[in-house]
């Protein structure tokens, strides 16, 4: 990991500060010299020169293609089980891209086919929940951190209440509100309790960012609230949120496995890594391959997202230029 030398702080993760004074230097150069390249342009320029960005981005691209067109990668039916001939058959690691490559599971189904077909639901859950909590939690954190006062008090205490809600109770309530156990329902259930941490992170970094000199300057120049929020404060407070979100993304994919384990997750005929990890855990002592491949795919995805998050964060952090 060559670029690990660079700082890739997720320093503000979960910071619930009433008042933190962290003297993050602003980015006066980019703001005031009026160079054509803004914050995002800078970041993109920086990203293009990072190998880790390209590795993780191409890995993600591959996963997205698998998710979109699973039929391209396997001809086997992921739902067809043959208990008589294939019950828990071990992997044939030499048989690339064939049905028995990763072996068969407890229902006699091809694990390779299931891993391929499970990509779509798993990535949808991960990305869906992350987008949802980033929008909801991010917005609440932004408002709470920027305006402070009673609005902050209300939002913070509501966050506390949600933080105290038991995972099981919360998800059960949401899941029962919907008739079918579809992907969007699972996303809703996970997002229902998941937004609190992003909210805290965003709030903390907004509190830090709004005290920066350039923000004060912008305010003195008479910038409106909307412009202040979205042009000045948000871009400079976004970095920690992105990092936490990318780490959390993997966490949500595996949280779907925990949901399946508790009988609350996605259900047949949907196929997901989470379902297979949960059912594969029963074979952990005797047929670890049933568990290994879906869990391995999950690790790979988490790895790709974390690396991408690190690269993006580093690119966004003005201190590192």
């Amino acid at each position: 990991m060559p670029d690990m030398t660079k700082d890739q702080s997720i320093k503000d993760a979960g910071v619930d500060v009433a008042v933190t004074v962290d003297e993050t230097p602003a980015n006066p150069v980019a703001e005031s010299t009026g160079k054509p390249r803004g914050l995002w342009g800078d970041a993109w320029f920086d990203l293009r020169h990072r190998p880790m960005f390209w590795i993780s981005a191409s890995l993600l691209a591959l996963l997205l293609v698998i998710a979109a067109f699973p039929g391209l990668f396997t001809g086997a039916d992921p739902r067809a089980g043959d208990l008589t001939n294939h019950y828990l058959q071990k992997p044939e690691l030499g048989h690339f891209f064939q049905a028995d490559w990763f072996g068969y599971d407890v229902q006699g189904r091809s694990i390779y086919a299931r891993v391929i077909y499970g990509t779509r639901a798993s990535i949808l859950v991960g990305v869906g929940v992350t987008v949802a909590i980033t929008i909801v939690g991010g917005l609440l954190g932004l408002l709470s951190g920027y305006f402070g006062g009673w609005l902050d008090a209300i939002i913070s205490r509501v966050t506390d209440i949600f933080f105290g809600l038991p995972f099981l109770l919360g998800t059960m309530v949401v899941l029962n509100a919907f008739a079918e156990r579809k992907v969007y329902v699972v996303i809703a259930a996970l997002a229902f309790l998941g937004w609190t941490s992003i909210c805290r992170v965003m709030r903390a970094s907004v509190i830090t960012a709004k005290q920066a000199d350039y923000v004060t300057a912008a305010r003195a120049l008479g910038a409106g609230t909307g412009r202040m929020l979205f042009r000045h404060v948000l871009p400079n407070a976004l970095a920690p949120t992105i990092v936490v979100a990318t780490i959390a993304l993997g966490g949500f994919i595996s949280a779907e496995a925990t949901l399946s384990y508790l009988g609350l997750g996605l259900a047949d005929p949907t196929i997901s890594w989470g379902i297979d990890i949960a059912s594969g855990s029963e074979e952990i002592r005797n047929n670890v391959h049933v568990l290994l491949f879906p869990a391995g795919m999950l690790s790979l995805t988490v790895f790709a997202f974390i690396m991408l998050g690190d690269a993006v964060r580093d690119a966004l952090d003005p201190k590192l230029r």
Partner: protein
């Protein structure tokens, strides 16, 4: 400072009422009649179901149920379980266990997580750093029920270092393995947090000043660097205590710890409203206190922070 604390303490009252109301509603929304469920697969006798509903006040309207519950609560009566035992009794058995487990997990998390993180941070880019990254990845992508199973298989069933189960939940020495499993995920986060803040602060001005002054390296790392790197870590630890107390359902189940997670899980399955509301309410209060302590700790760690 005093006014700040007072204000935060006052905020607990609306939060308390809000939480109880919210949980009350949520338990009510859940499908499944707790009284009918007592009969399981077998048929329930409608007259008896009616009589039991009356006994537990479940035949009243929801607002009435809530008002009655709050009335009792102000006399510190948390109600009764369906088995006819005071909820307070159940809670006073479970909370001390979970608090012990939390202490063990926190200790492990702080010691191991901080040292790993500091080690990686000081050697950023070298082998220890990569090792910590891989550890993080592995821990994040393995669900806790598998982690717990593997940990027990290795340390108890194979190596025989510890007993496989917690026989006496109040004995803190037996809580080591579940505490370790519980701490794993957070340990990964703490290690990464510490590592990044360390790496970042190494380049800070005050470090250069300290070095220039000719202070010994040990003092620089141990006092200046550590203290300045602790704020995000402390924040994370604060939120984590909450997670440990409420989120240990799976870990407690695997290792036979009779704690809050286990109590809550059973209460949820039996739709025992009084227990669920009681546990969650106490739990939210604990979170509020911890958040307050964390906020106050900022001022200790960073003298620039002042509370009005």
């Amino acid at each position: 400072m005093g006014r700040y604390v007072a204000r935060r303490l006052l905020q607990m009252i609306p939060v308390f009422i809000g939480t109880t109301l919210l949980i009350f509603l949520m338990v009510h929304i859940l499908p499944g009649d707790p009284i009918r469920a007592m009969w399981g697969d077998k048929a329930a006798d409608p007259a008896q179901v009616e009589a039991l509903r009356h006994k537990f006040g479940l035949d009243q309207s929801l607002p009435m149920q809530y008002i009655n519950y709050m009335k009792d609560l102000f006399q510190l009566d948390f109600g009764e379980t369906f088995g006819g035992r005071p909820v307070w009794d159940e809670m006073s058995r479970a909370f001390p266990v979970t608090i012990r487990l939390t202490i063990v997990a926190m200790a492990i998390e702080m010691v191991v997580g901080l040292s790993l993180g500091a080690w990686a941070g000081l050697k950023a880019g070298k082998a220890p750093d990569t090792g910590v990254l891989i550890f993080t990845l592995v821990v994040i992508s393995i669900p806790v029920f598998i982690l717990g199973y593997v940990a027990r298989f290795i340390f108890a069933d194979t190596l025989h270092w510890v007993a496989p189960n917690v026989e006496d939940s109040m004995d803190i020495t037996q809580l080591f393995l579940p505490g370790f499993v519980l701490a794993m995920l957070s340990m990964a986060y703490v290690a990464r947090l510490t590592r990044t803040t360390f790496a970042e602060n190494l380049r800070a001005d005050y470090m250069r000043t300290a070095l220039a002054k000719g202070l010994p390296r040990r003092r620089i790392v141990g006092v200046h660097l550590l203290r300045n790197s602790l704020i995000p870590v402390v924040t994370f630890l604060g939120t984590d205590v909450g997670g440990f107390i409420g989120g240990a359902v799976v870990t407690e189940g695997i290792f036979n710890v009779q704690g809050v997670g286990n109590l809550l899980y059973r209460a949820l399955q039996q739709r025992e409203g009084s227990t669920i509301v009681g546990v969650v309410t106490v739990f939210v209060l604990i979170i509020l206190v911890i958040n307050l302590i964390v906020d106050l700790l900022y001022a200790v760690l960073d003298p620039r922070i002042r509370y009005a």
